[in-house]
């Protein structure tokens, strides 16, 4: 290779830290953190610290500081979204170092933390979620995680390229360009056992080898990063892009070098405004530093990345549809072969990988394929990021080695079901996956095992549902999603999902029959075999798994006209138990349609003709006087 003959410029921070501040405050500014009010908390810390007059608030790369100083940094997602806004405080004083994380911090709490902990030296233990000293109730969230993909997310400032460079950023690309041939890179990734994290689980090294094997007459090849995270309930790509965009660029550049591509496209959903903003900032910085662009680090390798904003179509997550979309067409999938490796974007050889896959590539290059392959289970190697959400106590992002059981992830890391309710199912794989019951919780999470259940690992979303969620309604939710998102090319998908949705609507309204259930199963087969792309072939999965594991709930809806979860409005009635009602008027005040009457200290009554079955009174009553049946 030419690369060996040139002297490459090893990437290093341009503005090294001038000061290691005594007080280092890091606040989660991921989408979740911001939703919980972290911007206000960040402002409170900056202003509160400045008001102490003891500490100078500085920017460590720009300001020198003679006396005592503090810095306040915004990071990406710190993982434990349930406790957002999360604030990590690292104190370095008198030769010792102490690091703690506070959860659910408010601006008012910021003032107390500054006074008692930062100035006074006494951490406020009741608000702590993580310390480097004693245990907290959240230890099981952190204990079994291993962060390879998310190694910088929630730690560095994603808008500061020097933060990334200081944390070994672009060193993997340097290693590749200075010491490795493209074949060696592909061998390394293949040896690591890395598989596509977007859902299909195709071996990444093998994919790169295919793409490397084709050439086009004009020498043009493309490398696409799929950031069109459309699965509702998955947010790991969002967090990776928001929290560590350079890692994804670096992974793309390494892949592009391996397959011989010079142009890259990063396709990211428009629904992620914060991710898009940080990508743009990071891209500009990487180009200015010569880490993306012509003759990267002084080598012969040039690679340019263009950002494409998705325009809102789930099907564009499918690779051939995505290429159509980049070309400016309706995002409709096409028949394969030819596979994109042979003829993809503008008929040139093209490789597509998902964000999470690319984010871990630099780690593999720096730490070796063996280190990655040492983790995992059977044919699923390495770690995977799971997005825990729904009725689970500790919602958030967790990265664990593949092969942990569902129970370990949901009850260990996730801390079990909210409000002590009964676990009903975990939904894996979104609209292409399914709901798995409690009896399967001891299965290891790896691609093959989960496939056998009828669900899929997919992009790693795990939505926990409890006794108050209806299985039929959940299946209907996914069908309404796929029905809306079907591109319309294949009639079995376009019409079949609509017919299935119609039947599910009918069952939820209490008008279903046993024949309807049989029809669902038959139609599911038609849609599966008659559709071209993954959207259609997997669209029936939520219904089929629901019928496989929760058939009794379907039959209850049909035969007894009963929804045990109380989620299907037509099958649910709310009434007030006269013996328990205290006449407190709480339910009457919360009723949006004024269907509840009764004077204070007198028994209340729900007017069934007015009731819209919203359940607000049921949630509100502290005396369990509102009965649902």
């Amino acid at each position: 290779m030419m690369a060996a003959e040139r002297v490459l410029v090893k990437p290093a921070p341009q503005n090294p830290r001038l000061t290691v501040p005594e007080v280092d405050v890091r606040i989660c500014l991921g989408t979740g953190g911001v939703a919980a009010g972290s911007r206000e908390v960040l402002k409170a810390f900056k202003e509160g610290l400045a008001r102490t007059n003891v500490l100078a608030v500085i920017r460590p790369r720009e300001d020198d500081c003679a006396g005592r100083c503090a810095s306040v940094t915004g990071t990406g997602c710190q993982g434990l979204c349930a406790m957002d806004p999360l604030v990590e405080i690292h104190l370095r004083r008198n030769g010792s170092s102490q690091k703690v994380t506070y959860g659910q911090v408010t601006p008012a709490m910021a003032d107390e933390i500054i006074a008692q902990h930062i100035i006074g030296g006494e951490p406020i233990s009741k608000w702590l979620v993580l310390t480097d000293e004693g245990p907290t109730e959240f230890d099981s969230f952190y204990a079994s995680q291993e962060k390879l993909t998310l190694r910088h997310v929630g730690i560095i400032d994603p808008e500061d390229i020097d933060d990334y460079l200081e944390a070994d950023g672009y060193q993997a690309l340097y290693k590749v360009l200075s010491q490795m041939t493209p074949e060696q890179v592909i061998d390394e990734i293949q040896a690591s056992g890395l598989r596509g994290r977007g859902g299909a689980g195709f071996p990444t090294g093998q994919k790169w080898r295919f793409a490397a094997g084709y050439s086009s007459p004009d020498g043009v090849k493309y490398f696409i990063c799929n950031g069109d995270e459309g699965d509702p309930g998955a947010f790991m790509d969002c967090s990776a892009l928001e929290g560590d965009p350079h890692a994804v660029f670096e992974g793309m550049a390494i892949g592009a070098y391996a397959i011989g591509a010079t142009t890259g496209y990063m396709y990211v959903r428009a629904e992620y405004p914060l991710a898009l903003r940080r990508i743009k900032i990071a891209m500009k910085a990487a180009e200015e530093r010569g880490l993306i662009g012509d003759n990267i680090m002084g080598s012969d390798f040039s690679f340019h990345i263009k950002l494409k904003e998705g325009a809102g179509a789930f099907v564009c997550g499918e690779e051939t549809a995505m290429m159509q979309s980049i070309e400016g067409n309706r995002g409709m999938p096409r028949l394969r072969p030819p596979f994109p490796a042979e003829s993809g974007l503008w008929h040139r050889p093209t490789n597509i990988n998902n964000v999470e896959t690319l984010a871990v590539v630099p780690w593999i290059i720096l730490n070796g394929a063996e280190a990655f392959a040492a983790r995992g289970y059977e044919k699923s190697r390495g770690t995977k990021v799971f997005a825990l959400a729904g009725k689970v106590n500790r919602t958030g992002l967790a990265e664990v080695p593949m092969g942990r059981t569902l129970r370990e992830v949901i009850f260990g890391i996730g801390g079990g079901v909210k409000h002590g309710k009964a676990f009903k199912a975990v939904q894996m794989g979104g609209p292409s996956g399914g709901c798995l019951p409690e009896s399967l919780l001891d299965l290891p999470v790896d691609y093959e095992t989960i496939n056998q259940t009828g669900a899929i690992v997919g992009s790693g979303g795990m939505i926990v549902i409890d006794q108050d969620n209806c299985i039929v309604d959940t299946a209907r939710y996914f069908l309404s999603f796929t029905q809306q998102e079907s591109c319309g090319k294949c009639p079995p998908c376009r019409i079949g999902t609509k017919r299935m949705l119609g039947v599910l609507d009918k069952i939820c309204e209490g008008k279903g029959t046993l024949e309807d259930i049989a029809f669902l199963e038959e139609m599911a087969q038609q849609v599966r075999v008659g559709s071209l792309c993954g959207l259609g072939t997997t669209a029936p999965n939520p219904v089929l798994t629901a019928l496989k594991y929760f058939r009794d709930e379907f039959e209850e809806h049909v035969l007894e006209k009963k929804c045990r979860a109380g989620a299907c409005a037509a099958l649910t009635t709310y009434a007030i138990d006269p013996a328990t009602c205290t006449g407190c008027r709480a339910c009457a005040r919360v009723c949006p349609v004024q269907a509840i009457t009764g004077e204070r200290k007198e028994i209340h009554v729900i007017d069934q003709a007015l009731c819209i079955k919203c359940g607000a009174c049921f949630e509100k009553c502290r005396f369990d006087a509102v009965r649902r049946s």
Partner: protein, 182 residues
């Protein structure tokens, strides 16, 4: 300055931005989608005359431009209110009561999802997943997400925002990627 003159200024500014946009994508392959996105960012929606000019700039027949614009959920062919309220209906939000939240906001604003308020200040939308599942259920007002809502809290958040708008401080308008800095 009269209102009419101010309106004229807005139009002139939009025209200038639109010409810059067309110039920026001149000769670039696959420019139809970004042109439509940019045009919508300028005009708030895609009026017929804009569609005609975008198609021409992209070198595509109008039928194709319209086909693309109607394929993607982002594009709007009708005027859109100044501020956008998006109720997230991702899976986590759905199982955590997003339907009730949507209903309450609909009742509060007096419109259905997909509609604008008559004063053209608020548009209500239902979207699939904004990527803040850990904070479900979520409502986004312009580009700012609000999490862990109940129907009551959601209406409070909307009311609070309306009060800010009334006081002349509504933050950046309907988000197409714009975001307030810290």
């Amino acid at each position: 300055m009269t209102t009419e003159a101010a309106f004229g200024d807005v139009q002139a500014e939009q025209e200038e931005q639109f010409l810059d946009l067309i110039d920026h994508y001149k000769g670039e392959r696959g420019s139809l989608v970004p042109l439509l996105q940019g045009a919508q960012g300028i005009f708030g929606y895609l009026p017929q005359e804009v569609m005609v000019r975008v198609a021409e700039a992209a070198g595509e027949p109008l039928s194709k431009a319209l086909g693309v614009a109607t394929f993607y959920s982002q594009f709007r062919l009708h005027p859109h209110a100044k501020h956008t309220i998006r109720c997230c209906h991702g899976t986590a939000c759905h199982v955590s009561g997003a339907t009730l939240i949507s209903q309450e906001i609909e009742r509060h604003l007096g419109i259905h999802a997909g509609e604008n308020t008559p004063d053209m200040l608020y548009a209500l939308e239902e979207v699939h997943c904004v990527g803040a599942c850990g904070m479900a259920p979520v409502v986004m007002i312009n580009d700012r997400a609000h999490g862990k809502l109940t129907p009551d809290k959601a209406v409070e958040v909307v009311k609070h925002f309306q009060a800010e708008v009334a006081a002349g401080d509504g933050g950046p308008v309907s988000g197409d990627g714009r975001e307030d800095a810290e």
